[in-house]
């Protein structure tokens, strides 16, 4: 066993999960705004020989059971009738309350899977301001928006840590954070990652959270997600945000286990249990929570 693997898997055991190598199932999400009914696209794909299975915890998500060819090259995909989106990654955008006519910040938007999902949930009303820090990734994001007929997004080449430079106020912010990732999406993850990487990413995430609080209106919602299993990027950061940014953790009704409130001998705020931690099984590893900006923040 590589030292990196041993180090991290021991941590997972301490958190109550025994490491298993897992390959997440490929999933799609139906873009209702372009299809009308999810069952129509399921039938269409079945006629092409693509067998789908409904993902029980998602409204419009399906696992690919069998396909003779890439689901990323069908006419239906190119027409934007569905998007390829990992199952756990479909959760964050669904956690906002009413989305129609809202102004939403998608702070780390590329390659745009969640931006398209937001537009779908918003039925192309209101506005999404989508940011990313790399121009090449914005090209991919723009292609997704065009393919999926998204009409309500404005995209900027901007570091999320500078979001307040836009001088805009938002009802909601989606912070799908740059993170250390997890071993299910990268076979070399254990060899590549160190605890220093995790801490560096956690610090970056705290900077983005701090900036989001500046631009979200009083009482507004922030959905925070990572595909990291490391508590420094998950529960510890949310605990920090509760204590330092005046954010509260809202209860959510979604797939996943309660967030950990005691990790590595640290006792965290009890509201952290409202977060959702998803250990890899049929999905990748994931962490998500919904925060509310208090009405007293400046």
């Amino acid at each position: 066993m590589m030292p990196g693997r041993e180090f991290f898997t021991r941590r997972y055991e301490t958190m109550g999960w025994n490491y298993k190598n897992v390959e997440p199932r490929q999933a799609i999400r139906v873009n209702l705004i372009n299809t009308g009914k999810a069952t129509d696209i399921v039938r269409r794909l079945l006629s092409l020989g693509i067998q789908l299975e409904k993902i029980p915890f998602l409204e419009n998500g399906y696992w690919i059971c069998k396909s003779k060819f890439s689901v990323g090259s069908t006419t239906e995909y190119l027409l934007g009738l569905y998007s390829i989106q990992e199952a756990a990654a479909q959760i964050p955008a669904t956690l906002f309350a009413e989305t129609e006519d809202k102004t939403v910040l998608d702070a780390c938007a590329a390659p745009g899977g969640k931006t398209v999902q937001l537009a779908d949930l918003m039925q192309n009303t209101g506005a999404i301001v989508a940011l990313d820090v790399k121009r090449q990734r914005l090209v991919a994001l723009s292609n997704q928006l065009e393919r999926c007929c998204v009409k309500n997004a404005v995209v900027y080449l901007l570091d999320a840590r500078n979001a307040s430079r836009l001088n805009l106020g938002f009802d909601y912010a989606l912070l799908d954070m740059p993170c250390s990732g997890n071993f299910t999406m990268d076979k070399n993850w254990f060899n590549r990652r160190t605890i220093e990487d995790v801490e560096r990413n956690a610090a970056l995430q705290r900077e983005i959270l701090t900036e989001a609080v500046k631009v979200v209106r009083d009482g507004g919602e922030i959905v925070y997600s990572t595909c990291s299993l490391e508590p420094e990027e998950d529960e510890f950061n949310i605990d920090w945000a509760v204590r330092n940014l005046g954010l509260s953790v809202e209860e959510v009704n979604c797939y996943g286990q309660e967030g950990l409130t005691e990790v590595f001998d640290k006792r965290l705020d009890n509201s952290i249990k409202n977060c959702r931690r998803i250990w890899p099984r049929q999905t990748q590893g994931f962490f998500v929570c919904k925060l509310r900006r208090s009405r007293t923040n400046d």
Binding site: S142, L145, E146
Partner: protein
């Protein structure tokens, strides 16, 4: 640029009404936005609302959004069978036997949208030979098809 778009659209023997106030230009690309998005799009934006197309060396390249807008109108269109649909998306020209329905111009040199049996827009092409006559081989050349979404990311 609005004139460029109107000229392009007219090649399908139709027209669309674009309000100058709803258009934003960014370098060589043109975007259609509503009032709300216009307020949110400062001069530094990268993409906004619906991209209508771009100009390169004086030539206009439409977006798929613009083609979809044209497809909603009475315009030059051909409907193709499933095999031709796939070949067209792969960048191939269209043979006469793959065309199952025609609307609008059949004249050589005109542009025509290419739709599948469900009337979904797959792209557009240029009529190579009068579509009224019998002809072997390609009759519509592929100018732009949905497969571009895959090719542009390579």
């Amino acid at each position: 640029m609005i004139e460029t778009i109107n000229n392009f659209v007219s090649r399908f023997e139709t027209s669309i009404n674009l309000d100058e106030n709803s258009l934003l230009k960014k370098q060589n690309r043109l975007f259609l936005v509503d009032e709300n998005l216009k307020r949110l799009a400062s001069k530094d934006f990268f993409y906004a609302g619906t991209c209508l197309g771009k100009t390169e060396d004086g030539e206009f390249f439409p977006s798929f959004s613009l083609l979809r807008m044209i497809a909603e109108r009475k315009a030059n269109k051909v409907v193709v069978d499933e095999k031709t649909e796939w070949l067209f998306i792969c960048g191939r020209d269209i043979f006469k036997q793959g065309v199952i329905r025609l609307q609008g111009s059949r004249r050589k040199g005109d542009y025509t949208l290419v739709l599948n049996r469900r009337r979904e827009c797959l792209g557009f092409g240029k009529i190579l030979f009068d579509l009224s006559g019998e002809r072997e081989g390609a009759v519509i050349s592929n100018i732009f098809d949905l497969g571009d979404f895959l090719r542009r990311e390579r």
